[in-house]
């Protein structure tokens, strides 16, 4: 009788300690998750801004004006294009 209740108390103690550790562990992990999430959010915000900037700078009209009027480039006509074609070996 005494023996079994001692054993049960021991088990309860162990389980109580386990709860404490798991909770603490959970808390730590949650903090890490929170930190990682906020880092991800700020990085994705910045990425979004950069993508927008990239898209704005690479606007086709902008690039074309730059090429045509600043660099004085022209688009080659079909008769000026040479196509190199690879034919399968006979």
């Amino acid at each position: 009788m005494i023996k079994s209740s001692l054993f049960l108390s021991l088990i309860i103690f162990v389980s109580a300690m386990a709860v404490v550790f798991v909770r603490s562990d959970n808390r730590q992990s949650f903090l890490a998750l929170q930190a990682a999430t906020s880092e991800r959010d700020s990085l994705s915000e910045e990425w979004g801004r950069l993508q927008l900037e990239h898209a704005t700078w690479s606007l086709h009209d902008l690039v074309e004006n730059e090429a045509r009027f600043k660099l004085m480039m022209i688009a080659p006509g079909p008769e000026e294009i040479v196509v190199l074609r690879l034919e399968p070996r006979q």
Binding site: S44, L52, H54, L59, H60, E79, V83, R85
Partner: protein
């Protein structure tokens, strides 16, 4: 053996007993005292602290997915912004000077006051939405009680005007309103989450405590659009619309092998980033929502039926003299008296009389079925909002005039996209493919609607249309073989009947003929009356769009005058055999 003094043992026991008991008592008194101090004596400070931090459940807004073109260029993206809101009850009772707030929010004076007055019994009003985070921080730094921020997302469309109709736009609450934004709203929008957080008095989140419901951000959507070609198509269309003083127009570029829409532009258009001064008509994606009588552009399909029945060959002769033809109280005209024409030359010269006479040899039901087979009167299923099915009347009894006019494209109506799909059949050797606005990884399977040998014969005629002897010399692309057909259609007047002062110029075609890669349809609405023929107005736009598409995709030329190809044999050394 000595026994211990029983008295001293007993004494030692009492000392230890009372020491332990005393220590426990002191500890208990200390704890009780501390509890008393916290709960009763010092509670005002703690209550203030408690008010300052509050556990709340807040919504986590999902980020709307991006829309990308087929090469991964960003067409629509959401970036975080802050919206400023107020609790009118707190703000009114705080007696703060609203002038600084008005200035920081760039509102007109008195605006906040009148809002506060009107919504005095509410707990939430917007002051200003979608501010850049830096500006919002300035507002918060004013430290005005009852003024808060909320994180939202603002949608940007870097391509602006160039893809307005395809993309559409979202409203301020991030719901898709038009175009792809509307059609794929569920795919893009994601699911709102919930989390438990600790907030301070200004409702800024100090700490996340728990996640109650995970947030699912919206997914990206990859379109079949190629932004380079889209931009080019819009420019060429805009140049033509302006040069001819037209009311509007549409241009479509399709990949002939996969039936993907590579470019879809309409005029008049709008900038999805700034829609403040725009009225309804600009929002219409005419390429799918507006229907036109296709006119002469349907002639290849009428003649394909004639060839399929076997009673005609490309060399069958048709008499078109004297340049007009009366049928059932209706008179059909050609531009001039072409005399006797072969079936091929009926198409090359675009003779209405020839086409009508050939069609009269077949049952009207057969002609109806042919048009049905090439997709007229049925939506394409392209997944864009507001798509029209067009008009393809199925009559119990056909009057001769209805039968004859349908053969050259009157009395039926199609969207530019339906016309492009129909020409896609000729470009894909007689097989109709399902068109799409989303990127495809592989060619879809289609359904054969025109026999292969008939397509070959028709395409040979369409190639002659784009030549000095045809009606569309200006659709020529140097170094490539091009096939296509013009259309010049009188517009219906409001009173019924056709107007002779208002036209539509059309051109539909594909290239290269030896292995078609692109289908282009150009519709120009109400060009000026000095030039209004499809071959003059729409064909040059076709040629420019096609030239750019062929160049940018690096498609080798197949034309007669194409001498600039250097053909290599695969070298064993290079490729490691």
């Amino acid at each position: 053996m000595r026994f211990p003094n029983i008295k001293s043992v007993k004494f030692g026991y009492y000392v230890r007993h009372w020491t332990v008991l005393g220590l426990l008592l002191i500890g208990m008194i200390l704890l009780l005292g501390r509890a008393l101090q916290l709960q009763v004596l010092d509670n005002s400070r703690l209550q203030a602290e408690g008010r300052a931090r509050q556990v709340r459940i807040v919504a986590v807004k999902p980020v709307r997915g991006r829309i990308l073109d087929r090469r991964g260029e960003v067409l629509a993206i959401s970036t975080p912004v802050d919206s400023i809101w107020a609790d009118p009850q707190i703000l009114s009772s705080s007696n703060t000077d609203l002038k600084a707030l008005t200035e920081a929010l760039e509102l007109s004076s008195g605006q906040i006051e009148s809002q506060l007055h009107r919504y005095a019994d509410k707990k939430f009003i917007w002051l200003r939405r979608h501010l850049p985070p830096a500006t919002a921080r300035l507002v918060l730094d004013l430290n005005i009680p009852g003024v808060f921020t909320l994180r939202e997302y603002h949608r940007y469309y870097p391509a602006g005007l160039n893809a307005g109709h395809v993309l559409g736009f979202t409203d301020i609450d991030d719901h898709g309103q038009e175009g792809v934004e509307r059609a794929f709203d569920r795919h893009l929008s994601g699911v709102e989450g919930k989390k438990r957080v600790l907030q301070d008095a200004r409702r800024t989140v100090i700490e996340d405590i728990d996640r109650i419901k995970p947030v699912y951000h919206g997914r990206d959507l990859v379109l079949s659009i190629d932004l380079r070609l889209q931009t080019a198509a819009r420019r060429y269309l805009a140049e033509a619309v302006q040069a001819h003083g037209a009311a509007g127009g549409s241009a479509l570029l399709l990949d002939a092998r996969t039936a993907e829409v590579l470019a879809m532009v309409n005029l008049p258009d709008f900038n999805p980033n700034d829609r403040s001064e725009i009225t309804g008509g600009h929002f219409r994606n005419r390429a799918v929502t507006d229907i036109y009588e296709p006119g002469s552009t349907v002639k290849p399909f009428t003649l394909s039926l004639a060839l399929s029945t076997g009673s005609f060959t490309p060399d069958s002769l048709v008499e078109t003299s004297p340049g007009f033809y009366r049928i059932g109280g209706w008179t059909i005209h050609d531009i001039k008296d072409y005399g006797s024409l072969t079936l091929s030359r009926v198409l090359i010269k675009s003779s209405n009389i020839g086409t009508a006479k050939i069609a009269m040899e077949m049952a009207p039901e057969e002609l109806y079925q042919t048009f049905r087979d090439i997709g007229f009167g049925q939506i394409t299923g392209v997944e864009l909002p507001g798509e029209q099915a067009g008009i393809l009347p199925n009559r119990q009894r056909w009057r001769a005039s209805e039968h004859a006019t349908m053969a050259y494209g009157y009395g039926v109506a199609v969207t530019p996209l339906q016309l492009a799909r129909a020409y896609g059949i000729l470009a894909a050797d007689g097989v109709m493919l399902p068109v799409t606005i989303r990127k495809r990884e592989q060619a879809p399977s289609g359904r054969r609607v025109i026999p292969s040998d008939v397509v070959t014969e028709i395409n040979a005629m369409l190639e002659k249309v784009v030549s000095p002897e045809g009606t569309a010399q200006r659709a020529t692309v140097p170094a490539y073989r091009v096939a296509g057909k013009t259309g010049t259609v009188r517009k219906l007047s409001a009173e019924g009947g056709y107007r002779d002062d208002s036209y539509q110029a059309l051109f539909a075609g594909f290239a290269p003929v030896s292995d078609p890669r692109f289908v282009v349809v150009v519709v120009i609405d109400e060009p000026g009356l000095d030039q209004y023929y499809g071959g003059e107005v729409a064909a040059p736009v076709f040629a420019k769009i096609m030239t750019d598409a062929l160049r940018l995709r690096g498609i080798p030329g197949d034309g007669d005058n194409n001498t600039n190809q250097i053909v290599f044999s695969k070298l064993e050394a290079d490729l490691g055999a």
